[in-house]
Symmetry: C2
Amino acid sequence: MATLDQKPLRVALAGLGTVGIGAYKILMQNASVLEERTGRQIVVTAISARNQSKDRGVDLAQCAWEDNPVNLASRDDVDVIIEAMGGENDPAYTLVKTALENKKHVVTANKALLAYHGVELAEIAERNNVSLCYEAAVAGGIPIIKMIREGLGANRISGLYGIMNGTCNYILTTMERTGEDFAKVLKDAQELGYAEADPTLDIGGGDSGHKLVLLSALAYGCLPDFKNLSVEGIDHLEAEDIEIAAEFGCRIKLIGQATKLEDGRVLQMVAPSLVPKTSPLAHVDGVLNGIFVQGDFVGSSFVEGRGAGEGPTASAIIADVMEIAKGHCAPVFGVPSGKLEKAPTATAQDWRGEFYVRLVVEDRPGVIADIAPILRDHTISIESLIQRGRSEKEPVNIVIMTHDAKGEDIRAACAGIADLPCVLGKPLLMPVLKI
Amino acid sequence: MATLDQKPLRVALAGLGTVGIGAYKILMQNASVLEERTGRQIVVTAISARNQSKDRGVDLAQCAWEDNPVNLASRDDVDVIIEAMGGENDPAYTLVKTALENKKHVVTANKALLAYHGVELAEIAERNNVSLCYEAAVAGGIPIIKMIREGLGANRISGLYGIMNGTCNYILTTMERTGEDFAKVLKDAQELGYAEADPTLDIGGGDSGHKLVLLSALAYGCLPDFKNLSVEGIDHLEAEDIEIAAEFGCRIKLIGQATKLEDGRVLQMVAPSLVPKTSPLAHVDGVLNGIFVQGDFVGSSFVEGRGAGEGPTASAIIADVMEIAKGHCAPVFGVPSGKLEKAPTATAQDWRGEFYVRLVVEDRPGVIADIAPILRDHTISIESLIQRGRSEKEPVNIVIMTHDAKGEDIRAACAGIADLPCVLGKPLLMPVLKI
C-alpha cells in the first residue's frame, strides 16, 4: 500500500490544449485529495507544446520546457508522460514509443494512436514493465476501461453496445427534437462548436470505430484491428427516418457494437441503429455518451456520462495517473498482449436480426411488385412496409422492416434493389437492436 | 505486473448460500479467463457453512471443511477469505477481524458489518497491509466502489444519489404500473420471492442506509456512521402519491443521497423522493439499481445494473478477488482510515429544496385556512396545492408542493399541522430532487 513517505510522482505534459490544460488544472486544484488518495504527491516537472509563449490561463513557469515533445521521454525528472497531442502518427507515436522504451509510464487520450499501433505499444509497455493507460481515449466521463477490465473482470463478456461520439449523438438528438434535416443540424452544430470544421471522422463513424476496437480488445481479448471494422456514419439519415423509427417504438443512435457470435468470433461494427425506447441507450441525449455491457454473471450494466470536453477527459487522465501513483499496473488490453486472439473478427455481413431499409423510389404503380421478388430471392421476409406521401413528380420514401435476416443477405438484396430503374440512390440500411 | 509463474491465490469460502455458491461457480466456470487476466490461478482450498451434508449442486469434495468459519482465518493454506454469511455480528465479525489480524485478505458482501464496524476493520486491514474489499456490498452488478475510488478518483465529489434496494424499487415500479397499493404489492412481491418474509430492513430504508454510509465514506472521506443517518422507508406511500408525482413530471424512488453542503458538511439521508422523469434515475425499473454521481471535473455520471442475486453479487466478489490476485491494494475507504473526517455529518433536517407534502384531512370547509397560516409561520411558501375527490364521510388527501424550504422548517410545520383536529395521521413528506 502506498505510504506518505514515498517520493513524489513526476509527470510531464505533452500537449497543452484543452485536454492537457484540464489535466494540469486537476493536478493543481485537487492536489491535496490526490495525495490523500494515492499516498504520494503528484507534480508536473516538464511540458511541451507547439507555442511556448501562448497564454493558457495557468502558471506553468516552474515546469521545464521542451520544444520537441519527444525529448520528454528521455528526461531523468519524469516518471509518467501524459500524451495530450492527438493524432495516430508523429510526434505522438514516437513520443509514446520512446517513453515506454525508456521505462516511463504513459497516459494518453489518443484513441487513433492506439487503434492503429496499440498492440505494438502494448508489447513495449509490458516488456518494460510500465503502464500504457487510455481511460480518456473512450468516453472520458465514463470510466469504461476500468469498468470492463476491473469492475466486470470476472465475467465473460457477450455484448457491448456504445454511444461513443458526442457530436453524432448531439446531431441525432437535435434532428429528433426539431425535425430538421441532417445538413441543417450539422451546420448549426459547427457554429455552436459541437462539431469540427471537418466533421468527417465524427459523422462518418471513424472516431466511434477507434474507440470500439479498444473496448473490444479489452472485453474479448481480441487484437485491436481498426482495418477489419465495418463502419457506417450518420450522414445519410433524414428526419423522416427518425420519425418512422419512433413509430416502431425506437430511436436512432450511432452504435458501436461488439458481440460474441455462437461460432466464437467477435462481431464488431459501427452503424446508425434503431434502439428500443425501453433501452437505457435510447435515453442518452445530446453530447452524452452511454455504454451497455452484458456479462455471463453480472447480466447487463449500463453507464452514461459526458464523453468529451476538458473536465471529463482530464478526470479520466488523472484517474490513470493515480493508478500509476499507487503502483497498480495491468496488461494494456486486459491480458498480456501475446495472448490476444489473432483470429479474424466478424463484420456487419455476419450481423443477424431485424433491419430497417429505406428506399427512395419513383412514385408509380408496380414498385413494390419489383422489390418484393428480390427480397424473397434473398430469403428476406417483410415484417411491415410504410410508404409516406404521394406525389406524381417527387420521389417518395418506402421503409421496410424485415424479420430476422443476415447482414450479407440483406446487403445482397439491397444491391439488387438499387439496380431497379424505379429505385433512386442507394438504399439506407440500419440494424434494429433488441437490447 | 503479475506473471504466470506466480503461486496460485488460495481462497476460502465462508457461507455457501446463493452468494457463496455463485462465487464458487465463477471461479470454476471462468477459471481460464481469470488466470489470463490476473496472471495467477485462483483456487478454493477451504469452505465452511452451517450444514456440511446439504446438496448445493456443485462438487466441493476437494475443499477442506471447517465447522466453525472462524477457523478459516487461521489456516495456512488460505490467502483470501470470502465472507458470504452476512449479519453485522458474529460469526461474521470475528471471522473478518481474525482473518485481517492474521494478514489474510477479506472480500465481503456484508454491508451491515461494514456500516457498523467498518472503521475498526479498516484500521486492522491497513495495519496488516491486507485488503478488505466490499464491491459486492453495494449494488452488486454495478462496480460503484471501484468507480468512485478509481474511475472518478481525481474528482472532489459533490453529489451522489442512488437507488440501491431492488425490493423497494420493484414495489414502487409495480405500484406505478398497476395502480395497486403498497400492502398488496408487497404481499405479491413476497410470494414471488422479490421481498423477504420480514421485509423491514428493505422497505424501512435500513439496507439502503447501510450502503449509503459506505459510498459516502468513499466519496467524501467521512467516517462511515450509520447511527447518524436520516432514514425513511416506503411503507407509507399510496398509489395516489405516485399518480400525483407523475402529474408533476416525476417518479417516486427510494433514494439514498449524500451531498456536500456549502458549509463543508456531508448530508446523508435515505428517503422516498420525487425524481424528474428527465433524470436517468427515473428510468431505473424493477429490481435494478442505479447510481448518479457528480464530480467537480467529470460532471455527472450514471450507472445502472442488477443490484442483487447470485450472478451480479458473485461477479462483484470475484472482481475483488482478482484485484487481490494482481497485488492491488487500496485503503478501505479511499483514504487511510486515520484520515477519515470525524466532523458530524448533516441530516434530513439540513436538506434544502422543494417538498411534496401529503396530508389526510377531513373534507370540510376551512381546512386550507387552518393549514396555510402554519406554513406561513415556518416561512414555507406553497407552489401548488391539489385536493383530490370529495366525500362527506371519507377523509381526503391534500397534496402541497412547496417552494424551496429547509428540512427542519418543513418538519416543524408538519408537526404543527399534524396537531390540527382536521388533520388525520402523520403528514407524508418527500424531497423533490433536481437532478
